[in-house]
Amino acid sequence: MSNNDANTASLMARVPGPVQPGPGRFSPLGFIAGIRPTELLAVVPFILFAVLFLIAPTFYVVVSAFLDRAGNFTLANIAGLFSEQIRASFWISIRVSATSAILGAILGLLIALAILRGRLPSWIRSTVMTFSGVASNFAGIPLAFAFLATVGRLGLITVLLKFLGLDIYRGGFNLLSFWGLTLTYLYFQIPLMILIIAPAIDGLKKEWSEAASTLGASTWQFWRYVGLPVLWPNLLGTLSLLFANAFGAVATAYALTGMSINMVTIQLYAQIRGDALGDPGLGAALALGMIVITAFANVIYLVVRARAERWLK
């Protein structure tokens, strides 16, 4: 890929373009020797944006987690993370994110396999893919409303089941709980999984399953020894993406539960609004904790992907 680009680039350098600027070959940065200033100008907005609005804010949050109000180094903010309330809030966020990611990955994989390899009519496939595009973006406030109207205390399903003699709220279900949140999050986690894993499943060559069955492998053996090992890095990668996706979600949980579930994103939201805590250093420490956890999930992914790519070569 980059080889091809490099060829194009070297070819381009030899084109005697009429736009050759006077001073020519101005290059303050060694690694891009031979680049015209106008070309450099094209990446400047992007890099400026990345530095100002992605890297600097993150860096700022990380640094201020270690500073007290006067600007001196302190570990008090980090120590504050280990108070009972905040530990519990991190834990419930991790639980909901991990459960919705694991279940979303498994169910999404099953649905993707069913529509891509289950010999269903082709219109089902295209409909499911389009719907997944919609549903994976149907997160936040409207999603919370939809689930309140479905399995909330006055929701259609709740009322219907009660009519049939099954009171799910008396049976221990609560939309404003761990399982309620997980059920709601699955509505965008499953479609996201389908969207990401579908190309990977399509990448499983037909010849492989044919070769496997020629050698006498059963369907189970094909998936156990060929299909799943090939999909594995993709599965783990998507798992970490789904985890981060759920972990950073604020709006769904906020609209669903208000302050009644103590998720870490809601804690941080309240902290920024100035409703609670009222300690900016602790807010930064909360944000740092969130970055560390999502980064950890993604480092796992990167390591796995690097190993997988080595193997696929």
Binding site: M1, S2, D5, T8, A9, V15, V19, I32, R36, T38, A42, V43, P45, F46, I47, F49, A50, F53, L54, A56, P57, T58, Y60, V61, I92, R95, T99, L110, I111, I115, G118, N137, F138, G140, I141, P142, F145, F147, L148, A149, T150, L156, I157, I190, L241, A244, G248, V250, A251, Y254, A255, G258, T265, L268, I272, G283, A287, M290, I291, T294
Partner: protein, 354 residues
């Protein structure tokens, strides 16, 4: 045919151990993820007991396995005659159309909430179905104001996003392939760093006493909101533009335009951009779908956007939220439908597989 008892024991032990480990992993995950923090020590001791039970079961099964095998072989003739009956059931089991079952269960999970929401949104009047909730929403001046505001912010996001992403993606593909890892890393950052962390950084970094006091004025805050949304949409925008650039021959087009005397800006605006407009637009509609009902950033920057409005209605009304939910869903569907429609116009020639 007949294996030694120790061989049977060993193979049974391996099999049960594998099964036991798988079972314990699921068990541990389930116990961990369904318990509160203070309940974890209790769950851990329960888990230790589970390990003990499963271990004992595996060992016992292995020790008994030669006996069981012998018993099984002794019963073979009887089993063989009984086999005739159960076999059709087995075949019946595998004849269940699993893809259909999975698809239908999935479809139910995804359709029921929508159906329930539609039903709920129509029930504002006791006893009959009516569209009053929708009329009430559409005639609310705050709905019109916030929706227009979010739509405008969305459009501005798209324009700024295109201006930032397209030139960079073009040059990186053409001349600076060495920058690609850095650019790809940057475009993945918004997926890793939660939006609420970014906005927390913005509020501190661009406050009234900073070098760039964006939060000090309404215009500045609007600008900050737009730039925050550009960050949010960056992964999707970049992916779309890069895919578009991959399907055209950037090098040849640039050479041809250069030979004809076009300068860099003309090449980008009048040669490259028209060629990838379909890809850019699909990125644009995706951005719009993400941005239009966004709550966290808009609410923390105190902007009169559609997301905070919906949250406010949700806290104060009963039936209108359901109507708003359906309206958002239809809007998202329209945006995605536009992408599907655009995909039909995408150039299918000279697709490069690199």
């Amino acid at each position: 045919m007949t294996r030694s008892p120790t061989a049977i024991m060993a193979s049974t032990f391996r099999l049960t151990l594998g099964l036991a480990v798988a079972l314990l992993v699921v068990d541990a995950l389930f116990r961990l993820l369904t318990s509160n923090l203070d309940a974890i020590p209790g769950q851990l001791s329960a888990l230790l007991w589970d390990i003990a039970y499963v271990g004992i079961a595996a060992v016992a099964l292995s020790i008994l396995s030669p006996l069981l095998t012998a018993a099984w072989q002794a019963l073979q003739p009887t089993a063989q005659s009984l086999w005739a009956a159960p076999l059709p059931i087995r075949r019946g089991f595998s004849r269940i159309p699993w893809p259909w079952v999975v698809f239908l269960i999935g479809a139910a999970y995804f359709i029921i909430p929508l159906a329930a929401t539609v039903d709920f949104s129509l029930k504002i009047r006791r006893g009959t179905y009516s569209l009053d909730a929708y009329t009430s929403v559409f005639s609310d001046p705050r709905f019109q104001a916030t929706f227009t505001y979010s739509l405008l912010v969305g459009l501005a996001t798209i324009v700024v996003g295109i201006l930032i992403v397209v030139p960079a993606a073009y040059i990186v593909r053409l001349r600076l392939p060495g920058l690609r890892p850095f650019i790809e890393f940057v475009t993945l950052l918004p997926l890793i760093i939660p939006a609420i962390v970014l906005v927390f950084g913005y509020i501190r970094l661009f406050n009234t006493s900073s070098v760039l006091p964006l939060t000090g004025s309404a215009i500045g805050t609007n600008l900050l909101l737009i730039l925050a949304y550009v960050a949010l949409a960056l992964p999707y925008m970049y992916r779309a533009v890069d895919t578009g650039l991959r399907t055209i021959d950037v090098g040849t087009l640039t050479e041809a335009a250069t030979i004809l005397g076009a300068n860099q800006f003309t090449i980008l605006a009048r040669v490259i951009f028209p060629n990838i407009i379909v890809a850019v637009l699909s990125g644009a509609f995706l951005s719009l779908a993400i941005v239009i009902g966004e709550f966290t950033i808009a609410s923390l920057l105190n902007r009169p956007a559609f997301g905070p409005y919906m949250q406010n209605i949700g806290a104060n009304r009963a039936y209108e939220p359901a109507a708003l939910s359906i309206i958002s869903f239809v809007f998202t569907w329209l945006a995605m439908g536009m992408i599907q429609l655009l995909a039909r116009f995408a150039p299918k020639t000279s697709a490069r597989t690199d």
